[in-house]
Amino acid sequence: MRLTCPLCGSRDRREFHYYGAADYLHRPAAEDAPDAWDIYLHLRDNPAGVVRDLWYHELGCAQWLIVTRNTVTHEISGVALVAESAK
């Protein structure tokens, strides 16, 4: 598997750290109810198909990336910078 980093180009999967579903971008506020934190930390759509998840270019530009990826075929259809995305 290779990811095309918007800054570094096509790179080996081993340069990246997988963090999880893009749900992690929607962090509740500290005063939010425990349910909001349960949803944020634990509950997932977990689709068999196209998913958006967060990867960190650990051995590259150290940018957080949103990767659009198919969990059945491992096909990658998009890589964008979290910093430039609308979340």
Binding site: P34, H42, R44, D45, N46, P47, A48, T71
Partner: protein, 416 residues
């Protein structure tokens, strides 16, 4: 038909013409008392114990592929009861006791072999942790023996003890641990359930769950609608999809875990060995193949196949631990889809829908749990109450904070 050694000899002498299919191939009925979605190890054992322990025989197991096509035929077959946390410890202890009586119970040779499991440790801190774990196992009534380096050397003389990165300090021996033939476990439970009247319906994919006023009424399948008073979802890596049919969003992420087997070799590895620092574990099958595996590929996946970096990592770990296997040729590798829960422990619980039950979250440790998972899920479905050894496997524990974090790494999807 009852299997026996005499039967094998007789059939061998008479051309093997007297064997009958091990289970029927029935068409689905219009209604059952209970339906199990998923004909894997856990689903089959649930059906078996529903029939055997609770007298529920008007039940069906719906399998979208064929019996034994999922994780029950894709694992590395390790059977153990070396858990630490209250909640896990008594459950896996119960499971191991069921394993020990399984073959006579099922009248089926599942090739359960208690050859001993050795978990290696490589530092003083790890030794302390294993002493503590061993004491927990003994307190639970199971067995554990702490081995120093020479003790490990007596059992496993072929390991590389002097490696500089992870020198071997010793190991925790679990003599009752071992392995079993995974397909046989599926076949044995399938045959046992079928003999008690359970309908095993293969090539029957569930496409919807019928719910009226918060009560489950049945399921929609590729072979038509089937009514049922109770429905159990036991579908491992596909738990999120099936639960979504009932409007549920689960604390589950599906990941791929790879395993490998070499060509058949003469007996060389007599134990199950786990090398935690290298995320590597190995045993030798009765056919002679070295069966080994590593860690998750660490990204959500339903592909049933992994990527090369983890293949390389597993091979490196194996070579680090036991350089003698370097000349063995790998025959096959494959991946199974693991239903990973945030804290690494399973879920056996009711749902918000009356009559709908859930058994999932087995992470990468579901095989050894097959007997007790079925036992406890059957108890829950039949009585409506959690079995005493599975009472902490609650669906809402992530919301309430009653976690079962065996590894002590936290409760988030990227941590296990």
């Amino acid at each position: 038909m009852r299997y026996s050694g005499l039967k094998v000899i007789w059939e061998g002498l008479t051309g093997n013409t007297g064997w009958a299919p091990a289970w029927r191939d029935p068409a689905p009925k219009a209604e059952y008392d209970a339906i199990i979605i998923g004909g894997g190890g856990h689903g089959l054992s649930t059906a078996y114990y529903l029939a055997k322990n609770h007298g529920m025989t008007n039940i069906a197991v719906l399998e979208k592929g064929y019996i034994g096509s999922g994780n029950i035929g894709r694992n590395t077959t390790i059977v153990r009861a070396n858990y630490f946390l209250p909640g896990n410890s008594e459950f896996y202890s119960h499971s191991l006791k069921l394993w020990e009586g399984l073959e006579s119970d099922l009248n089926y040779n599942v090739m359960h072999s208690q050859r001993g499991l050795i978990n290696l440790f490589h530092s003083d801190g790890q030794r302390d942790a294993f002493v503590r774990r061993g004491n927990a196992m003994i307190n639970q009534g199971d067995d554990a023996i702490l081995l120093d380096r020479d003790g490990v050397r007596e059992h496993l003389p072929y390991l590389d003890f002097e490696q500089t990165r992870f020198p071997i300090y010793g190991g925790l021996l679990h003599p009752r641990g071992g392995s079993a033939r995974h397909d046989a476990v599926a076949w044995g439970y399938a045959r046992g359930a079928d003999q008690r009247g359970v309908d095993l319906i293969q090539n029957c994919e569930v496409t919807g769950i019928d719910i009226e006023n918060g009560v489950v009424r049945g399921v929609q399948t590729t072979r038509g609608a089937i009514r049922a008073k109770k429905v159990g979802i036991i579908v491992a890596g596909r738990s999120s999809q099936v639960a979504a049919m009932a409007g549920m969003r689960l604390p589950i992420e599906s990941h791929v875990l790879q395993a490998f087997v070499t060509e058949g070799l003469k007996p060389v590895i007599n134990h199950v060995i786990s090398f935690g620092m290298g995320h590597f574990y190995i045993s030798q099958s009765d056919k002679g193949g070295l069966v080994f595996g590593g860690d998750l590929d660490f990204y959500a996946s339903y592909a049933s196949r992994g990527n090369l970096p983890m293949v390389e990592h597993v091979m490196e770990a194996g070579m680090t631990l036991m350089p003698m296997i370097g000349r063995a040729k790998v025959l096959r590798s494959w991946g199974g889809i693991m239903d990973m829960s945030p804290d690494g422990s399973p879920i056996i619980d009711k749902t918000h829908v009356e009559g709908l039950f859930l058994d999932c979250g087995w992470n990468y440790g579901g095989f050894k749990a097959v007997p007790a998972s079925g036992w406890c899920m059957a108890h829950l479905m039949a009585t409506g109450e959690s079995h005493e050894v599975a009472r902490k496997f609650r669906l809402n524990r992530f919301a309430t904070g009653h976690l079962l974090d065996e590894e002590g790494t936290g409760s988030q999807h990227n941590l296990h």
